[in-house]
């Protein structure tokens, strides 16, 4: 079978450059908070996105979700300029992991807002607490409540 879907996993050079440019555009806003990504970090962020989608078995249509993550977190007082890029890589990985954990029932905006709320409050900027405590707890509750209501994966999908 000709798997055209693979195209999404191996964007061509032209597409990658376009995506890098789009990410660098976000510097205009993040700069206000002293946060800047270099071109190399932007490229690494795209690679982190590709790794996350692949390891979580997902197909991503573009760079929108990454841009939304940047927009949501760059204003957080817990994000340091020194580990800005690293934090974004981790947040991107957590984001795609949580998309699966919540069985695609939580939209991108809602999930990013939730992550932002946790980071800015109960986690006080700790990505580790975000993933291993708050979101793990959230995912457990989410699955349990859906099991109790008798919904199975995919019920709402199609």
């Amino acid at each position: 079978m000709m798997n055209l879907l693979d195209l999404y996993h191996k964007s061509g050079t032209v597409n990658i450059q376009l995506e890098i440019n789009e990410i660098l555009e976000t510097n205009k806003e993040s700069m206000k908070f002293g946060l800047i990504l270099t071109a190399a970090e932007a490229q690494e962020l795209i690679e982190a996105r590709n790794r996350a989608t692949r390891s979580n078995g997902r197909v991503e249509l573009g760079i929108e979700a990454v841009k939304k993550i940047i927009a949501a977190f760059c204003s957080s007082s817990y994000i340091n300029p020194d580990d800005y890029a690293l934090t974004l890589y981790e947040l991107v990985e957590i984001f795609y992991y949580m998309k699966n954990e919540t069985e695609d029932r939580v939209g991108d905006n809602e999930l990013i807002n939730l992550m932002k709320e946790f980071i800015n409050h109960s986690c006080r900027g700790s990505v580790e607490l975000l993933k291993n405590r708050e979101l793990a707890f959230f995912a457990d509750n989410f699955k349990r409540s859906h099991q109790e209501t008798g919904h199975s994966q995919g019920d709402e999908s199609f």
Partner: protein, 485 residues
């Protein structure tokens, strides 16, 4: 230098290389090989396909997510290609289809194909209503569950946008000619079209005749036909073809599904000495006569019957060649009925109770006492057979138990032990002949030994029961299930 034929081969689409379930993609690949479409055009089509897929994924997530699981994307992708294929595969000539792909946008092609899928869904829904309305009155469970449960479930869950390619139906009832290569709604449509024709054929016969034939069929194959996945049309058309062949012109005014021993002998005389080609020609004539006698005039109906002939013919010829036509033609057992046995399978006990009984038997040492426990505790054939196989009886204990059984009960056990032999000699079965074969299980060996030790008179009486019509003990078929496991 390239020969003329090489150029021709290179520019002609090889239809063998086109995949029915990936039609457009395989056509692009083959078109590229044949030089009918260049790389640039293919890249352009591919980019459009990806763009359309992206918009469908966004539609699927209702714009709330830009990513989906790979399986979801694949399903949407297949569904999208299903609609594109619906449009592209309409062209009789693949070269025209390639031209269409080159001159129309993928989105346009998708929309056209999607409209065809939706229209097919509407037609299939209407066809389903007709089939349901004219449903046959036959006691075959899979037939009713397919029409009353599986098909409504399919229509309820079918999604022409995101899962158009999915057939998602548990239609157990088998057709004689089913094309499983077709997917999605097009499969369901062809299934229903064929089922409608098969129903139309079956409805040319009286319910009671169909019921009788099915019961005879169940008897011959030792199955509970109500629970088995059988194609009723196949059984009916087979017997009706042979019925025509062994009937006179006058008899054929009213074609009977039921073939008597007498008629069957006439049939055997008719085919005796015929070679393969002559037999084939005779059967073809039988089909011609059947179509004429049943006044089948609709071209689709007629075509279906002719299309079934190659399938049936190979079975018929093989049966004739191996002298086992009796396995294909279902004889009417009523013709030679001597005894009426109404067999009640009895109620099986639960696992715990059964274990308690076997433990009691194991603890007991006296064969007479063991027999007493069995006859007082076991009330179903299924349990009885399970007990015989539970290793709780030894040598003489078997004969003590068999001694406590009457001729009818012993004949029922014989139907299990000599299943194959009785089937090949349905009217003249002999225990002495059959008893020479080695048995598979210990109780069967002991049973055969016991039978062969009986007086000639007693054995004759048991054989008479064995040779009695199975029709009246139809529920025995059910009781065989545990034994066959």
């Amino acid at each position: 230098m390239m020969k003329h034929t090489d150029i021709e081969n290179k520019t002609i689409i090889n239809e063998q290389r086109l995949d029915q379930n990936q039609y457009t993609l395989s056509l692009l690949k083959e078109g590229s090989r044949a030089g009918l479409i260049d790389r640039r055009a293919i890249d352009n089509i591919q980019a459009q396909i990806m763009s359309l897929l992206a918009s469908l994924i966004i539609r699927h997530t209702k714009g709330e997510s830009t990513s989906v699981k790979v399986e979801t994307a694949q399903s949407i992708f297949m569904s999208m290609l299903y609609s594109i294929d619906a449009c592209i595969s309409r062209f009789n000539n693949p070269e025209d289809a390639i031209d269409f792909l080159k001159t129309h946008s993928v989105e346009d092609i998708y929309k056209k194909g999607f409209a065809l899928v939706v229209s097919c869904l509407d037609e299939t829904t209407a066809l389903y209503r007709e089939v349901k309305e004219k449903k046959l009155n036959i006691p075959v469970k899979a037939y009713h569950s397919t029409i009353d449960e599986a098909l409504p479930e399919f229509f309820k869950s079918y999604d022409a946008v995101f899962k158009a390619h999915d057939t998602m139906a548990s239609m157990d009832y088998p057709l004689l000619l089913d094309d499983m290569r077709v997917k999605g709604i097009f499969y369901i449509k062809q299934y229903l079209e064929k089922l409608e024709i098969e129903n139309q054929f079956c409805s040319l016969f009286a319910d009671k005749d169909i019921g009788k034939l099915l019961a005879n069929y169940g008897g011959v194959y030792r199955i509970d036909y109500r629970e088995t996945l059988i194609n009723v049309f196949e059984i009916l058309i087979t017997n009706s073809i042979f019925s025509v062949l062994c009937s006179s012109e006058a008899d054929r005014l009213n074609i009977s599904l039921n073939i008597s021993i007498y008629k069957y002998k006439l049939l055997l005389d008719k085919v005796k000495g015929l070679n393969h080609c002559q037999c084939s020609s005779l059967i073809t004539k039988g089909v011609e006569a059947l179509i004429k006698d049943l006044r089948i005039e609709q071209p689709k109906f007629m075509a279906y019957i002719w299309n079934t002939l190659p399938v049936l013919m190979s079975r018929f010829l093989s049966a004739l060649e191996h002298d086992c036509l009796a396995n294909v033609v279902i004889l009417d057992n009523e013709e030679n009925r001597q005894y009426d046995i109404i067999f009640d399978e009895g109620k099986s006990m639960d696992n715990h109770s059964f274990r308690v009984v076997t433990e009691r038997i194991m603890e007991c040492v006296d064969p007479a006492e063991k027999t007493a426990i069995i006859t007082s505790s076991i009330h179903s054939l299924g349990d009885f057979i399970d007990l015989l196989e539970a290793n709780c009886l030894f040598k003489d204990e078997f004969s003590a138990l068999f001694n406590a059984l009457g001729d009818i009960e012993l004949s029922i056990l014989a139907r299990i032990v000599f299943m194959e032999e009785i089937r090949s000699e349905p009217t003249s079965f002999s225990v002495r002949n059959a008893g020479e074969k080695p048995a598979e299980r210990q109780w069967q060996t002991e049973y055969i030994r016991y039978l062969l030790g009986l007086s000639a008179g007693r054995l004759r009486s048991i054989e008479q029961y064995i040779n009695t019509s199975m029709q009246e003990i139809g529920s025995l078929a059910l009781s065989l299930a545990p034994f066959n496991r």
